[in-house]
Symmetry: C2
């Protein structure tokens, strides 16, 4: 900061995104296969260099839109900085990693070298990208519990059982539709549209359709143990 004349070795800042979506019943991440060395043929995260006129979030949004035709990410958030000096061979590259989410009803057009991979069965990844994906998954799992982040995985309108399978895929275990509905409703996140879905040919009661009230992330269950004293409380 006040350093004056350091050798100033070249430094590049890149942004990377773990773009997650639930597809075909499992949580997947968008990866592209590197053609060139280093790490040719390994799979890596979309992203690229930070430009002079943008901050990291603008940068990752631009790069996702440009390179991968993902304009419809419903949520983007910073994960962490990855900065091990040798994380990438050659000149140093510091990376800001993001989690981003694509709702399940979208199927963005992808460049030929790009594919969705199950997070639980990723191919060999380039550099530290595998670790970034796992970090993104963990963040998503945690936030499904205490925020409304489900909106970013779900289509605009959905049945509770569809939502249940999204949550199950993301969390990695079966969630009960009964309780999912109850929890999200009690928190005031879900709103019934009034419509119902037509049952399949095997019958069954038509499922009510819901939507999320909010489409931006908010903490809905601030797990605050050691809460502030209640109004009447004297608060020793």
């Amino acid at each position: 900061m006040t350093d004056a004349t350091t050798g100033t070795p070249p430094l590049v800042h890149e942004v990377l995104a773990a773009v997650l979506q639930v597809r075909q019943g499992s949580l997947r991440v968008l990866l592209w296969e590197r053609a060139l060395e280093p790490h040719a043929h390994r799979w890596s995260l979309p992203g690229g260099r930070l430009r002079a006129d943008e901050d990291v979030e603008a940068s990752i949004r631009r790069q996702l839109a440009e390179k991968v035709d993902v304009r419809q990410v419903a949520h983007v958030e910073q994960l962490a900085v990855f900065s091990a000096p040798d994380r990438v061979p050659g000149p140093r590259v510091v990376a800001t990693a993001f989690l981003s989410l694509v709702p399940s009803h979208l199927d963005p057009a992808l460049p030929p070298d790009t594919e969705w991979h199950e997070v639980s069965a990723m191919p060999e990844t380039a550099f530290d990208h595998g670790a970034i994906v796992l970090r993104a998954r963990n963040r998503l799992r945690a936030k499904l519990s205490y925020t409304n982040i489900g909106f970013a995985l779900a289509p605009p309108v959905f049945t509770v059982s569809a939502l249940r399978s999204l949550y199950s895929a993301a969390l990695g275990y079966r969630v009960s539709a009964t309780n999912l509905q109850r929890v999200l409703s009690r928190r005031g996140l879900l709103e019934p549209t009034g419509e119902t879905e037509r049952p399949g040919r095997s019958g069954g009661r038509p499922a009510a359709l819901f939507r999320f009230l909010e489409a931006t992330m908010a903490v809905t269950d601030p797990f605050a143990v050691l809460k502030p004293p209640s109004p009447r409380g004297t608060g020793t």
Copy 2:
């Protein structure tokens, strides 16, 4: 990443820390007063330039130890990247911000331009440093609820009422000693040393002394709503 020949404008990466400690009953942050422009006489966070051979966490630890003689930070964690193109005048500087915590019994020697300031009454800060401090405070407050991070605010051994005042200062509201003890004990974070503290001259029952069992941060209350089904559960 695969960009080849960009104009490569100069880019500096700095690390900054909001060093927090509870002193004299309130949560404080370590700030130093800038002597030079830009933002002369404003208060700013300790930190500095990332070197070629270290990652961001090593860097902030080094700089705290070097510049501010704070070797005894009990906890350091990444907060976020601050990267607005104009966050600092002149050549671009991207910052990785950290939260770090100093236990209340330590009183590190400080350089003459450096002082502790109440987080709730900070002087005019340089650049975006005020926002970083608030972010650090919010992170600390959240983590006091669902992790064992209290160990990083407390001395090695303490009474429950001393711990209560630390939590109260950090959270900004009075916490009940009764419930604090109960919550932390149930979670298995506290251990009685068997010793007691001698009462003051006004009498009172001698207070039992406790210590935290762990001295590294762990999530102790994984606020997991939508938990995995219990063993017997069939998990529809």
